[in-house]
Symmetry: C2
Subunit: 143 residues, 2 copies
């Protein structure tokens, strides 16, 4: 189910906005924070990505003008990543369609009770794996 769902959502997002799921996740994280920028290691922690992956991906996004890098004044090893105006425009354009797709393909089909059961299942499995709580980074999903 997850493969089918994520695949279809990614396909629609790409078709409607030219963005990948990963681009979307980065922009959601950045626009959700004050100033629209944060340190690379913070972003890596929020997304649960390896720093190498993030470094490669941010470079691609910089090349497309969606985000930019800025030096960190207090730690000369560090960098800030920030959304650009273009990045903000792109996610503002993409978000409504994506939310609609999630509703149509996923939420619409399940009852309130099923969603609650699923949330419990997810939390139980993650807890049993020793992983942190889900959704902690970006807040609970709006249904």
């Amino acid at each position: 189910m997850n493969l089918q769902l994520d695949g279809e959502l990614a396909k629609r997002l790409a078709a409607e906005s030219g963005m990948s799921d990963q681009d979307y996740a980065v922009l959601v994280a950045l626009t959700g924070v004050a100033g629209g920028r944060m340190r690379l290691y913070e972003l890596a922690a929020i997304l649960g990505w390896e720093k190498s992956r993030l470094s490669h991906h941010i470079n691609r996004m910089v090349n497309r003008g969606l985000v930019c890098k800025e030096q960190c004044p207090s730690d000369r090893r560090g960098l800030f990543v920030g959304v650009t105006d273009l990045g903000r425009a792109e996610i503002d354009a993409a978000a409504p369609g994506h939310v609609r797709a999630v509703r149509e393909l996923f939420l619409r089909n399940l009852s309130r009770k099923q969603l609650e059961d699923l949330a419990t299942i997810v939390e139980t499995v993650l807890h049993g794996m020793g992983r942190g709580e889900p959704f902690s980074a970006i807040g609970p999903p709006d249904c």
Copy 2:
């Protein structure tokens, strides 16, 4: 949850057997059928993969000696893919550990009722997406 779970399962499988999830899926499909071989397009349908993806992947597996290709006598466009002795040995060695990992990371944490609820949810969502029933290709999971 799916990302964490699949990631951890893939990591363990790779560590214990040197195989990827994809290798495992191919070998499970092939060893589950009489003769241990089938046409490429059948395998693609069972796995839900694009034919291009399967073609690339089978080539890599041929190079590692896990499967082999054979000509199809009745249709000169077609090919059979078959498990090799090495492939059979590898999956026989890998399967118990993988099953144990699935039990430990996933099944162990959920009640009978939760598993049934989850199955219903999965079927409902897939049906709502217009996708076929899950598990149809490889049979129901043994708990």
